[in-house]
């Protein structure tokens, strides 16, 4: 009962916070408190809903979301694969750790132009997404694979477990909560990678829309693109939080 009322309490507070934020946006826009470049929320929403703009937004969204999805999936698969490799072949582990740390230390923004000249320009957004997601997932999975308790490891040793059986029946399930947390945190990273990649001259996408709107002073268009990206990222993050709670309930 108290737990439930606590959840309701938090939900109400959250709704009040979001409402306040949107109201302040609206007030600043309506009274031009921040100048001409801050439109009221209602103007932005009306712009997005305008039927003549639908085609433009849908094309850009499809391009960007496809990049986000591709980068996210590739990043997760390669991150999990690299972490498993380090677990199965411990001799690879220190090298992998260092390699991943070096990749992470290189600023993704600096890599974007290099990708642009190296690869297909439309592959740059998903590639940068994938790199960011890869790092996050590698770290989450390696720490997750260490999460099994000492007693559980002792139990498997005493039961005469093979390394494969130990990995599949103990280490992997014990790693799932950490992996899912990593997947949640990787959602905004995937979006950032795609948008940054698109800024550097992709042929389609919301990032491209933002840059061209900014350069042509199309203020409502710029805000619309930002609002769409933010909403999508937050919605997926929220979904993953729910999934995370489910996994924690089952695996911990």
């Amino acid at each position: 009962m108290t737990l439930q009322s606590e959840a309701v309490h938090r939900l109400v507070l959250g709704a009040v916070g979001v409402g306040l934020f949107l109201a302040i946006w609206q007030v600043i826009g309506t009274y031009r408190l921040a100048g001409m470049t801050w439109p009221p929320l209602t103007d932005v929403l009306a712009f997005i809903a305008d039927p003549s703009k639908q085609g433009l937004f849908v094309r850009a969204m499809l391009a960007s979301f496809a990049s986000v999805a591709l980068g996210y999936v590739v990043g997760i698969l390669s991150g999990v694969a690299a972490a498993m490799l380090g677990q199965v072949l411990p001799i690879m582990r220190p090298g992998l750790d260092r390699l991943v740390a070096v990749i992470h230390a290189v600023p993704l923004v600096a890599l974007a132009p290099v990708f642009m000249v190296l690869a297909n320009r439309d592959l740059t957004p998903p590639a940068i997404s994938a790199l960011g997601v890869f790092y996050m997932i590698y770290v989450a999975t390696t720490s997750g694979l260490k999460a099994a308790s000492h007693t559980h490891r002792d139990l498997f040793t005493a039961l005469g477990s093979s390394p494969t059986s130990r990995f599949l029946r103990l280490e992997l399930p014990a790693a799932l909560p950490a992996l899912v947390s990593g997947m949640k945190l990787a959602i905004p990273v995937a979006f950032i990678g795609t948008i940054v990649g698109e800024w550097f001259g992709a042929s389609r996408g919301l990032g491209l829309l933002m840059v061209s709107a900014m350069q042509n002073f199309q203020i409502p268009l710029l805000w619309s693109a930002v609002l769409i990206v933010t909403t999508a990222s937050l919605a997926l993050f929220g979904l993953m939080s729910l999934f995370e709670r489910l996994v924690y309930g089952r695996f911990q």
Partner: protein, 258 residues
């Protein structure tokens, strides 16, 4: 004397500490446990009694001497999936239900799960009806029962119990002792129980070994005379109380006795 199952032959164990020093946990431990014998290892915490059990389970290797089970290295026993263990921490896998947890040894051994055997064991430890429950939904005592059922799943040659009831309250613990006594009397598996409870050791074991700490060594080896199966009334027996007093005294730190 019957055939020896577990044999610790002048075993010593020392650990390297972080500061470079050596900690001698066990020295010159000589212990023979016969086939089908239930031996309780009693001692104050930190006396190395758990280390003895871990040596028998092949979770540690001795620094001196030799540990054998049926004449072979302990690893041979665990690799053949002939070893049953239960720890103070029940070590049930939280993502599996009770049935799957008790069936785990079959799967780890790469054998087909014997559903009837798993069901029978769950019934034996009094958890019938809880097959689909998750460990977190059960009480501490119920989880320990499940972990004992798991230890028995493959009909092991040797059962190693490391304070399996140490985290339970006194009432549940006594109840679990009765249950374990009943289960054990039906199967008579060679068993080594590590405990710091005198009552538990006396009620369950054929022989009680008392250890003292730093470095751990054996100071007492007492045969327990009570007939099996044992009834809880044994604990009100005069002889039982005498043994309790004797063992409690043996557990007192040297020099502390008046």
């Amino acid at each position: 004397m019957t055939e020896t199952a577990i044999h610790l032959d002048r075993v010593g164990k020392s650990f390297a500490l972080d500061n470079g020093k050596q900690l001698t946990a066990l020295s010159e431990i000589d212990l023979r446990i016969g086939k089908g014998e239930f031996v309780a290892l009693l001692g104050p915490s930190g006396c190395g009694k758990s280390t003895v059990l871990r040596l028998a389970a092949a979770l540690e290797t001795p620094s001196a001497g030799r540990v054998t089970i049926d004449g072979k290295e302990p690893q041979a026993l665990s690799r053949a999936h002939r070893l049953g263990v239960a720890f103070q921490d029940h070590a049930l896998l939280p993502w599996l239900d009770i049935f799957a947890n008790v069936a785990l040894p079959f799967q780890v051994a790469g054998r087909k799960v014997d559903d009837a055997r798993v069901k029978e064991l769950i019934g034996l430890v009094g958890l019938a009806g809880f097959e689909k429950a998750r460990p977190r939904q059960l009480s501490g005592g119920m989880r320990q029962r499940a972990s004992i059922a798991r230890a028995l799943a493959l009909q092991p040659d040797v059962l190693l119990l490391d304070e399996p009831f140490g985290a339970l309250d006194a009432v549940t613990r006594r109840h679990m002792n009765l249950e374990l006594q009943r289960i054990w009397s039906a199967q008579r598996i060679t068993t080594l129980l590590v405990t710091h409870s005198v009552d538990e050791a006396l009620f369950l074991a054929d022989r009680v070994i008392v250890m003292s700490g730093r470095p751990g060594r054996i100071i007492r080896d007492i045969s327990i005379p009570f007939e099996r199966p044992r009834h809880p009334s044994v604990m009100r027996d005069k002889r039982f109380h005498e043994l309790v007093d004797e063992l409690t005294l043996a557990l007192e730190p040297e020099g502390a006795a008046p």
